[in-house]
Amino acid sequence: MSRLSLILTSARHYWNGHLGLLFGAFLASAILSGSLFVGDSVRASLRRVAAFRLGQIQTGVLGGDRWFTEKLARESQSAPFIFTTGSASAENGNVRVNNAQILGVNNSFWSLSPSEKKIDLGSNEIAINDTLARKLNAKTGDSILLRLERPSAISRDAPLSGSTNEQVTLRRTIATILPPEDFGAFQLIASQITPDTAFVSLSDLQKQIEMEERVNGALSALPLALSAEKRVLEDFGLKLTRVSGSQKEWEISTSRVFLDPILAEKLLATPQAYGALTYLVNGITSAKGGTPYSMITAADRMQRSEVKSDKSEVTITQWLADDHNLQVGDDLTLKYFTVGLGRELKQQEATFKVSKILPMTDPEVTKAWTPEFPGVSDVDNCRDWEPGIPMDMKAIRDKDEKYWDDYKGTPKGFISLAAGQKLWKNRFGAHTAIRFPDSGQDEAALKQEIVSKLQLSDIGLVVRNFKADADAAAKGSVDFGGLFIGLSLFLIAAALIFAALLFLFTLERRASQIGLLLAIGWTPKNVRRVLLLEAGVIAIVGVFLGILGGRFYTQLALDGLSGAWNGAAKGLPLVFEASLTTQIAASIGTLLVVLLTLGWASRKLFATPARHLIDGSITSDLSRLTSHSNLPAHITLLIALTLIPAAMASSNPMAVSGMFFGSGMLLMVTGLLYLRRWMQSDRNSLSQTLTQIGLRNISRRTSRSLAVIGMMAGGIFLVVAVNAFRMDATDSGAGGFALIGESSLPVYEDLNSKSGREAFALDEELLTQTTVVPFRVREGDDASCLNLNRAQKPQLVAVDFIKLADRFAFASGSLPQQPLEALADQATAMWGLGKGVGDTIDYIAADGSTFQVKLTGLLAGSVLQGKVIINEASYLAKYPDAAGYRFFLIGSDKPDQVSAHLTRQLEQRGLALEPAKQRLEAFLAVQNTYIGIFTILGGLGVLLGTAGLGVLVARHVLERKGELGLMQALGFRSGALRTMILGEHATLLVIGVLLGSFTAALAVLPALKQGGGDLPLPFLATLIGGILLLGLVICLLATVLAVRGKLIESIRRE
């Protein structure tokens, strides 16, 4: 005989009494382990997706609109590639897929794929992934059309950047359809949703978009280093040329027209270097004449007095002087465009005094000053110019054509650099050339020397660790394990309470045994330990079975997430995984929780003196454990009431939710504490009716009654409180906009303006009441709840905030007022980014520097999920090269017609529109899906609570069979006794339901009002009514079953 044998013998002997404990432990273990397995499975699925989308890729560079030499990538042991977006259409034109990834790749790219399978693509061939193939309903051998934009060296927002209509259409035959393992899931941003992708041969694509030997990306399976020795000037978009003027000079210019400020600053550090800014003015006027479209150069030539002029003076050429019959001292006015937001141009003018007239033979009068303006420098005829600005071709005279024939872009005037920069400096730069003396240096050596002063990061070419980002994104992803534990918490709690309740029933039956052990010298600690270990033996079996059940639960959850709940794990192909660590952790965790629960639940029993326990009594001497004061209830009430105004004053949405929820919970606890006091005080009153006697029975076992009320109230509270957050798409969530849209290619034009509408032949009449709010988009991770990964670089978008004023409801904060203050959707900030008002997010600017944006406003349930939004001006200051808009909110009185019209007219830009509410519903579906899951699991918990109530009824009746027999003997009829028993337990049920409902309503009402929502009353009423009805039926059944037969027999037996 040992304690162990006693434990095992007792566990075996009382196995049927422990079935409730076994069931509770099984259920808790199944749910806990199942929830954790769901987490394991989602993480494994995300890892699998990341492995497919990145293959062997570790690091890389994404240049965007910065194109560098293919040679640099090759010599850095990386795979050069072109990354762009466009639209893909089936040959018959019936289906068009917007926003497809279009990649130019060679064999080195395929060696990075998960399978490393080489895909040879001929010049007329294309490989597409199975996602795109499915959408286009295309198969190998079919032809498809790709439409993409020919890249421009200069931002198409820049003045004089040429035409915006530079699109390329490729018709290619599908050579192969790629599955995920062959890079069919290739994607550099962390998302579980596979993008539509088309792969074209690199050389083919380079040729088609006129970017031979250039790429805008490089990928490597190793840590990538673009070493200084390998870089060339072309990688920076720079060109070094010898220019001849009055002195021999070197000139550094750029194919981007305007030199990046950071590069210009570094280049100006060259000894005796000076900058020049040449600009196309719309016209030169004077009192004596006018000349259209001419180049003017702003350059300081300190060492050459003949060109020196202060900012109010201009040196002109003889041709211009002759054209106007100008003399030194005459006034001359320059008319020119400046760039606003987008391609918005403002014509302005400035007047100068002629200080000098240079003969056309002067060595300074040369076209070398003029950079290569797209659409200007490369044409033979003035009338063929397409500079990307509105031009009055009629203003061009024959003599202007003659000038172009003779002198091309030779400037007609010179002003000081300061004067020129004052007029024409823009976000793209303040110089078009840097010049310095030519002292006979070797050109190759000079180029190398210049390159050594520059960093690729100066132009935003920064090596990124895609693998590390993917790991961080998967690691920080939505924790479905935690989420499911959270969603099932009440069910777990209900299982534990159920287990504890039935364990206590068993222990109470064995009270005299406990008393005996104490009497014969066992210490209370040892008795408790032995009994809990006995429970532990049962719990171990339950937990083990629960782990097996957990696998089933996980499978059900994964099926749910792939089916009815697919809103929560959109696009993720789920695989099952239950790691050994998780299984062990779940087993130990559940066992500990079960034992702690049982230990806590049985504390009163073990505090009962042995002399009472021997008699089978456990009610005596418990007074020291029972508070006779209302103080705890008063304190919780006070805290709950204090939390509500505190929550309303808080700006942190997480704190607001937490405080309201906490306040509701505390109110419920307060209710339970007051009930406990009522039950204790009721013991001393005089019962004069059968109903009163029934009610007295409620207070007979205070803890049992409170456990049932608590379980019911807790369940109702959680289900009601959480369901109150079920959201419908509202006008404020859509900002009052009817449509939301995205385009594959940027739209440069202002679709609200006459010129913008003319550019796309839009129907002015139809669009009278239509307003388009365009957003600039910087590619980044989707931080919306549709992305399960934790966004590492959330998508940054920009808008003119004035256009959003009074449009959206704020959950906290307000519309940003200062530069680099940002707006985000509340759900995006809280769950996607883990941020609140006042927090900052780091971004890398175009010049490679890091800057922070600060969240100052959070939108409530908005259509702008997934994005961090800053003001357009701040954005352009950080990304001066940004061109065009790719995201749109559209307000319209005729949304259907406008949507069809805009989609048709902007087809070439790949504009796809959908009703804003539809998008909002897609976002809200995720949240609503979680609530749906919680409701089901919470509902199961309440069901278990109701079953617990049934057990309680049966137990109560069995315990009181003798006294019920006595009452029958005294003349009470069975029906009256059943009514009494039903009444007392129905009271517990109703109190639980009411307490849960009222506290939940109280807790969430202010939050709902703030968010503009409303309680889904019909749904909640049905839910509560259903619970109430089910509870009553269970009580009735338990009562009828327990009170059947002749109760009077039991008194005879006694």
């Binding site: 009382y14 005996l516 009497a519 014969i520 003196p609 002399r611």
Partner: protein
């Protein structure tokens, strides 16, 4: 002196009125080793309370209790449990045998309360069980025994740790007259052969008369 009570008083709080109700008032008793004592008195006079005080299952409001010369007044719960396991054996009106354990296991149960269970516990148990005529019932479960046999097992259980003091609270209360008589005889025989002290609460004057001393309690005082 085995057990000594000096000026011991005990009262309980009435749950209805909240008033203190005295049960034992200024009790002074000295019990020598080897004595057999009967405690008698009407229902509610405090007999069981006195026995609980003897057995350290309850503590006095005032006064002092000494067992084997050791004061029990300031002992902790753990120390009192140790005292009970080593020095006191209990027999209750109901046998309180563990239904899941065999006769032998029930007898050995008190040895598990000792810090170091004696190595000869099993032999002692078998010896005592054969003394009470239950040697062939050792593997039986309590449910298979008669009422008298169960109570004899309870007697052996009380003796297994060789206590100095056996406390019996109406041990024959649930037995018929014949079995009650036999059990009393057995108790007295064992008390003599094991040189222990027996204190028994009883309502039967005949049983009380067989003890070496009778303590009468009336309205909380020794009469």
């Amino acid at each position: 002196m085995l057990l000594q009570l000096s000026h011991v008083s005990k009262s309980y709080t009435d749950p209805g009125s909240g008033q203190s109700v005295p049960v034992l008032k200024d009790i002074n008793i000295s019990i020598e080793a080897g004595e057999s004592i009967a405690i008698v008195g009407p229902s509610g006079c405090g007999k069981s309370t006195l026995l609980n005080l003897f057995g350290t299952l309850d503590t006095p409001d005032s006064g002092e209790i000494r067992l084997d010369g050791e004061s029990l007044t300031k002992c902790t719960t753990e120390q009192l449990a140790s005292v009970r396991s080593r020095k006191i054996g209990f027999i209750f009106q109901l046998h309180h045998l563990m239904p899941q354990c065999s006769v032998l296991e029930n007898v050995l149960l008190p040895t598990l309360a000792l810090a170091q269970p004696p190595s000869d516990a099993r032999q002692r148990a078998e010896h005592l069980l054969s003394q009470v005529g239950l040697k062939d019932r050792m593997a039986w479960k309590p449910a298979q025994l008669s009422g008298g046999e169960r109570q004899r097992v309870a007697v052996v259980r009380a003796l297994i740790n060789q206590p100095r003091l056996i406390l019996a609270d109406e041990p024959t209360g649930a037995l018929d007259e014949k079995n009650a008589e036999a059990l009393t005889t057995l108790l007295l025989d064992l008390q003599k052969t094991t040189s222990t002290t027996l204190v028994m609460v009883t309502h039967h004057p005949a049983q009380a008369a067989r003890m070496s001393r009778v303590l009468k309690i009336h309205e909380g005082r020794l009469a």
